[in-house]
Amino acid sequence: MNTALQTRAATEAPAALETRALVKRFGGIVATDDVSFRLEPGARHALIGPNGAGKTTFVNLLTGVLAPSGGSILLAGEEVTRLRSDQRVRRGLARTFQINQLFAEMTPLEALALAVSERRGGGRAWWRRVGGEALTSEVAEIAERFRLADIMGERTGSLAYGKQRLLEIALAFAAQPRVLLLDEPAAGVPQAERQELVATIAALPREVSVLLIEHDMDLVFAYADRISVLVNGALLTEGPAEAVAKDARVRAVYLGEERHG
């Protein structure tokens, strides 16, 4: 599997996001085991695996929250392994968190205005007010796209969970990423609010390459073109959605888990 990928990497255009032999150890535990992974530009790619497979660890490695024990990470062909989280964001890699990480005391208006002004490079400006026509119209656009226009002035901590989840994605989107990592976006969202969420994810523009980490198989098969399966920190298989769905090994992993679970 490794050599095949490496040969392919040498001859093709750079992937939107790529890892090469990525490893992460915590003491004696190998959480990420020699993972070589490619996310193609414009892809709708899902990463699935049983609980404890190391999916969130993988995302944390990709975004710089954790430092790898070995291997490298490339964003659009550029090596980012040594960069901090915020540096990777500025290079076009954004993520959402499995458990909402929002600014509880700020309003969605402030949070989005912040994200947009950081992206526009004005984050360090101490002499200006937060505002301006370009920023305003961009924030308004994002608010509409993510159906947040009604609640822009409310304290984030008191929003409905579904709306918080939408804000979570909106914040990542505001960074105008080339690669967007969605970590279990539908987790914990009540049935009534799911429609909105799923429709919003489906409407993301094609220029953004999306890696979706999910447990919800309905969402995965409705959304993803390609699927990678992570088991015990290593990639079990990878391929087009239908092929993976029929793969006997994948079923064994999930069915086996169900028998124990």
Binding site: D86, V89, Q101, T107, E110, R129, G153
Partner: protein, 352 residues
């Protein structure tokens, strides 16, 4: 409503919401009018007003560090003392102009803050306490030892600043001093207000709220914290310089732990994170100090300690919430306080 109208509606709401954040609230104007009135109407209290203004600026500097960056500093007096001694020495060594002195002290104190910020940001809460405390003690010890320069335990004598803007000489009644300090306080407050309402200030609030998320939207967390720590240090340096220039004397206690503890208490009384806490707290603190000093002069330290203990036990954040809720009910018309609810929601049925 057509799609385009709806878009315009949202955009308009966004714009007005953002604009509302930074607008001067009537309550703030009332506050500064009261300050000006006090200056004019109480010339006999000029010295006290001078002290309050200096303490307020010092507290404002700590608010930037503590309230906006979340850094608990036990040694903010390090920058205050540096500014004080430097200002005094400048007047004795060929630069008597007070405003130039202020500028130099601000820059030097700020540089010191930037230099020590690297230490302060690493490590845990406890390490931070240690480092900030340690720096203040080291500087205090330097001032103590370098007797030929600083006068050592006797203090720095013969500080003789020139006239402000070449026109207003410092007099023994403190009239020039109180006007000068208050003007400097106001100017620096304006700058701080600008900073806090800027994208930079907003990013600081987000770092205080959720540093993980802040990094995830591209904010260089450490860089911003270092910057605000430097700004806070610069402000403290200016406050110290004011002290030296207006009292024409600098004693070793500018580096004292007591000073750092006092300014913490001022912020606790006034509240952190909304810029006026230091100003209000300084006035209350100083007036309280005068009152208690007339009643029980020897036990000032005891009552300060008791006040600290009481404030902490009674949950100052709850107190602060009650106080702010009360104030915002009263001042709802006047609008003093933070700008929540920045975007007014249109009630159903209300047209664009």
């Amino acid at each position: 409503m057509s799609r385009a109208d709806a878009n315009a509606n949202v955009a308009a709401n966004v714009a007005s919401g953002l604009a509302r954040r930074a607008r001067w609230r009537p309550g703030e104007i009332v506050f500064w009018v009261v300050v000006i009135l006090a200056l004019i109407a109480l010339p006999s209290r000029a010295l006290l007003i001078n002290e309050i203004a200096i303490l307020a600026l010092f507290a404002l500097s700590l608010d930037l560090v503590l309230g906006y960056a979340g850094i608990v500093s036990l040694g903010h007096a390090a920058f205050f003392g540096t500014g004080a001694y430097l200002a005094g020495l400048l007047t004795k060594n060929g630069i008597p102009d007070p405003l130039i002195g202020l500028a130099i002290c601000g820059v030097v104190a700020g540089a010191l803050g930037l230099a020590t910020s690297l230490l302060v940001l690493r490590g845990s809460d406890l390490t931070r306490l240690m480092v900030t405390l340690g720096v203040a003690l080291v500087l205090g010890e330097i001032a103590n030892q370098a007797t030929s320069i600083t006068g050592g335990a006797d203090g720095l004598q013969g500080v003789s600043p020139g006239a402000v803007l070449g026109l207003f000489a410092f007099d023994i009644f403190g009239r020039t001093a109180s006007l000068y300090s208050t003007a400097v306080l106001f100017a620096m407050f304006l700058i701080a207000r600008c900073i806090v309402n800027s994208p930079f200030g907003l990013s600081l609030r987000s770092i205080r709220d959720n540093p993980l998320r802040a990094a995830a939207i591209g904010i260089p967390v450490s860089g911003r914290l270092i910057a605000v720590y430097g700004i806070g240090a610069a402000y403290a340096g200016v406050a110290g310089a004011l002290l030296a220039q207006t009292t024409q004397f600098v004693s070793l206690d500018v580096f004292d732990f007591n000073r750092s503890a006092d300014v913490l208490l001022v912020l606790i009384i006034g509240g952190t994170g909304y810029l006026y806490g230091g100003l209000v707290g300084a006035a209350v603190f100083r007036v309280l100090q005068d009152l208690i000093a007339t009643l029980t002069p020897q036990h000032w330290l005891f009552w300060i300690g008791a006040l600290l203990v009481a404030l902490v036990l009674v949950r100052r954040d709850r107190l602060q919430r009650y106080a702010q809720a009360g104030a915002s009910i009263i001042a709802g018309r006047l609008g003093l306080g933070r700008g929540h609810g920045a975007l007014r929601r249109h009630a159903p049925g209300e047209g664009p």
